[in-house]
Amino acid sequence: MGRLDFARCALLECVLRERGAVDWIAVGLSVDVPAGTVVPRRVNDTDMAIWCSAAGKLHAWGDRCPHRGMRLSHGFVRGETLSCIYHGWQYGMDGTCSYIPAHPQLEPPKTICARSYACNEQDQMIWVALAPTQAKTPDAEGRRPVRSLEITLPVAKVAEGLGHPMSSLMVLGGVYDLAVALQPSTQHSCVLHAFAGADQERKQVSRHLEKMRAELESADA
């Protein structure tokens, strides 16, 4: 990306942010983060660990253990806690460290805390906000989520290719009654999370999305 393009993207982002258009960013389907699992997600160059407790409570944390900087997404979920794979430090629902295996008698100070982000589940999609927001999570209006696909293009290029102004949830309509949420991951890539009409055959939609991605990527090549 040229310097000018990059400046334009940054400017666009500022404008969008002021309008509150991208407060909530989809990071994946709920069904892809089942209870008891943790996954890595990159959101606007911020690494996150998205995890779901045994009871089904979702969390979005910075993907970094405060102890040694290991990625928490390499860790594991036991009950209502997330443990780091490196030394087993265990973090509770509020992000504070609740247990250090090497010092079982110690009550960890509350200052040992994972960074947490706002995280909501709506329409079986997981949404996060990088900054505190008053906005509501987008409503998919009865559509159901189909799948997520990585696209090796910056998010602005994809929105442009789809011929749609950038927003948290872009309703494309068409045969499959599509609505898509774009997750900017790096400056060169993004993830498209797709909803389709509730009665659409998901295999057909998935194949259509594959084709859509191929067209978007080849148009830019």
Binding site: G28, L29, D32, V33, P34, G36, T37, V39, P40, R41, R42, F76, V77, R78, S83, I85, P101, R147, S148, E150, S185, V191, R202, K203, S206, R207, E210
Partner: protein, 203 residues
């Protein structure tokens, strides 16, 4: 049954994993593949003129192809066999792309690294698309509700993709498929593929 083995080889791990999942005893003989190139030694070439690993020896029988070894290990367990053939060839293709990228990065193999990584991403996208459709039908494995040699053939190279600079973060269905394999009773680890700690009681 003797496996001539190299701990960091995805193909050797495939054989160790299959035997472990089947509960079959396997004697491993460590071969110094890197840096000593012991798989090209006169003794090893006598056993396997191709000079590759893995080599499985069972009495007079010597097998040197990964797919053939998986078929041999499961010859009496039809549950582990399905519509596997296309996936056994796909596993070979994965080895050529992300497998080669990994050997380039960890053992300094010659490769057009950008080209093999690009091919690897295409392979992973294909695998993801297939698993997405399997999950729509309520199945988590490549050919059905239960694992077969297709899964065991494709799993190691896929799981080790990050060693070759290819990320798996953006493939939710591949991740859940790998998790299902790592949850199988008898699952064993290798460097780069760890077990699921949460399946065991807290120490």
């Amino acid at each position: 049954m003797i496996l001539y083995d190299y701990i960091l080889s995805a193909s050797c791990y495939q054989v160790r994993l299959m035997a472990a999942l089947l509960g079959q005893p396997l004697t491993t003989r460590a071969v110094n593949f890197h840096p000593a190139k012991e798989h090209k030694s006169p003794e090893m070439l006598k056993l396997n003129p191709k000079g590759t690993l893995p080599v499985l020896q069972d009495g007079d029988l010597v097998l040197t192809e990964s797919a053939e070894i998986l078929r041999y290990l499961t010859r009496d367990t039809p549950d582990w066999r399905g519509q596997d053939e296309v996936w056994l060839s796909f596993a070979a293709a994965l080895n050529g792309s992300i497998g080669t990228a990994r050997l380039h990065d960890i053992l300094s193999y010659d490769a057009d690294i950008d080209a093999v990584r690009r091919a690897g991403v295409q392979h992973l996208r294909q695998l993801e698309a297939h698993l997405v459709e399997q999950r729509f039908d309520g199945m988590i494995f490549l050919t059905g509700h239960t694992p077969t040699i297709a899964d065991i053939a494709c799993f190691p190279t896929t799981a080790l993709a990050p060693d070759g600079g290819v990320s798996l973060d953006v493939y939710p269905s591949i991740r859940l498929w790998m998790r299902a394999i790592r949850s199988l009773p008898g699952f064993i680890e290798m460097p780069g593929i760890h077990r699921l700690h949460e399946l065991e009681a807290a120490p």
